[in-house]
Amino acid sequence: MSKAREIRLSEEVVRAIEAHLVELSAGSVEEYVEAVLRERLRREGHLAAYSPEEEREITRRLRDLGYLD
């Protein structure tokens, strides 16, 4: 996991998340916000699913498994 930085959210948003943590299947506001933002950033192409090292390792494993050559 990368290093963390603090950001500010409006009281309204934080309260809304806190009030629905069970429905949102999250243990905390931070956990939910991090997951939602990561998903959104990946979908928009602004955050890679894999680091270059991870992608090389996954490619190696996929070759090992026979999916790629």
Partner: protein, 449 residues
């Protein structure tokens, strides 16, 4: 609300399962009391994209995902590994979540990195390790560790001649996965469960020759001749234990993404393209097993004289070098269809070593998909209807290979997987993998009405 549990067995094959069912009391009972159908996979019948096609009801063209690696752009080296971010269509659990229903998702291929869901998600074997965020919510990882110990996404160092170690590893992986599934369904709220075990696929590729007497490499004296059968018995026991943890009226689907068939050899796709004048290299002497991708990166492909190149794997993908599309396209777009049709005909006619036809199928994306998104291959090639692997590496000096270029492999994929539906009024027949999403939604619609 009656729950629905989908148990995924990657690569479970209808013919193989029917052969093994007498020794599998749990699956036999589910199939006999419910229904047991062949489930037609997508083209290509490969884990990625097939599982996500099942879960979204979309074909690979609609998803724009044609395999584990896809062209990100029209450059020659722009291949990227598919991830959950590659699948923008809502999965069945997203639609159930909108209805207020909770899902537990474990090991469904195409779910790494984990997306937020209404429920719990433990992602698949495409997770780099358990050191990364592989669950939703992220804190679920602690519970995974508590329930399954060191969680194994997949068998490590799969291409091995150390078969005893591989069996141990797959068995350990399967036991831990089922321990996790049982632990979560017993302690967490849920309506829909989807848990996929990758073990059958790994066992098929490693042990199909040991099991199948018709396999060219079969040795009746092999100490591993019963490894596959015994592994299915383990699966049957694990499924029985899981069912005992589920509420008695739970609907159970046992499904697979594709089937299995014996692998009889390989066709060196790019070697053939070179010989047939479609692919030109700037290097004369190459080591056997040289990857074309490496030659592309080293500038050793003569694109000015290249009409097409291929990607290998369990099936072949052909890309044409089209002017105005590829950076150094050599085929005028006006001639593209003529070239593609001629190439398809010639690929389909490649014989075996003795000159006999092998029944190769060449597929045109626009003919098999409802829509073609992203950058699709121009042709999909099933050598010998997938009895032969597509070898993408070069330097072999011949077209026909007996062995896989990535290590020992006994099996290739087959187009039909399985669908056991319990309880079910319907009997037998063939179903499509693209129907499963609606089958699940219809179950919950009926329960809600």
């Amino acid at each position: 609300m009656r729950k629905l549990a989908l148990i995924g067995l990657d690569c479970a094959d209808p013919v193989l399962l029917a052969e093994l069912l007498p020794g599998l009391p749990t699956l036999r009972e589910l199939a006999a009391s419910g229904s047991f159908a062949r489930l037609r996979s997508v083209d290509p019948p490969i884990t990625i994209p097939a599982w996500m096609c099942m879960m979204t009801g979309k074909d690979p063209g609609e998803l724009g995902v044609y395999g584990f690696r896809n062209r990100k752009d029209t450059s020659y080296a722009g291949l990227g590994v598919a991830s959950s971010a590659s699948f923008s269509a809502p999965a069945v659990w997203d639609l159930l979540g909108e209805r207020g229903l909770r899902s537990i998702l474990i090991g469904v291929p195409g779910t790494y990195p984990p997306k937020p869901v209404k429920g719990l998600l433990v992602s698949c074997f495409l997770a780099p390790s358990t050191e990364v965020a592989f669950t939703y919510p992220a804190t679920l990882r602690e519970k995974v560790k508590a329930l399954a110990g060191e969680y194994l996404f997949d068998a490590r160092e799969f291409r091995t001649e150390d078969k005893a170690r591989l069996v141990e590893e797959v068995v350990a992986m399967t036991k831990r996965r089922f321990a996790l599934v049982r632990g979560l369904v017993s302690t967490e709220p849920w309506d829909f469960l989807a848990a996929v075990e990758i073990g059958p696929d790994r066992m098929h590729h490693a042990f199909f020759a040991h099991h199948d007497p018709r396999h060219p490499k079969h040795d009746p004296a092999s100490p591993f001749r019963d490894a596959l059968r015994e592994y299915y018995q383990l699966l049957d026991q694990e499924i029985a234990a899981l069912l005992s943890d589920l509420p008695s009226r739970t609907r159970v689907l046992v499904v697979s993404d594709h089937g299995v068939q014996r692998l009889e050899g390989g066709i060196a796709l790019n070697e053939w393209l070179i010989r047939a004048g479609y692919l030109a290299l700037k290097a004369d002497s190459l080591e056997p097993g040289t990857r074309l991708g490496d030659l592309v990166r080293e500038g050793l492909v003569d694109w000015s004289r290249t009409i097409a190149w291929g990607e290998g794997g369990y099936y072949g993908r052909i890309f044409l070098n089209v002017a105005g599309r590829e950076p150094e396209g050599a085929i005028p777009s006006s001639e593209c269809e003529i070239v593609r049709t001629k190439l398809a005909r010639e690929l389909a006619a490649i014989p075996d070593e003795e000159g006999r036809p092998i029944g190769t199928r060449v597929l045109f994306p626009e003919e098999i998909y409802r829509e073609v998104r992203g950058i699709a291959p121009d042709l999909l090639v099933y050598f010998g209807d997938l009895r032969f692997r597509s070898i993408g590496t070069v330097g072999w000096g011949r077209i026909h290979l007996r062995e896989n270029d990535t290590g020992p492999d006994d099996a290739n994929h087959a187009p039909y997987g399985i669908l056991i539906d319990y309880p079910s009024e319907q009997k037998g027949g063939d179903r499509s993998i693209l129907e499963v999403k609606d089958l699940i939604l219809a179950h919950f619609d009926k329960e809600a009405s």
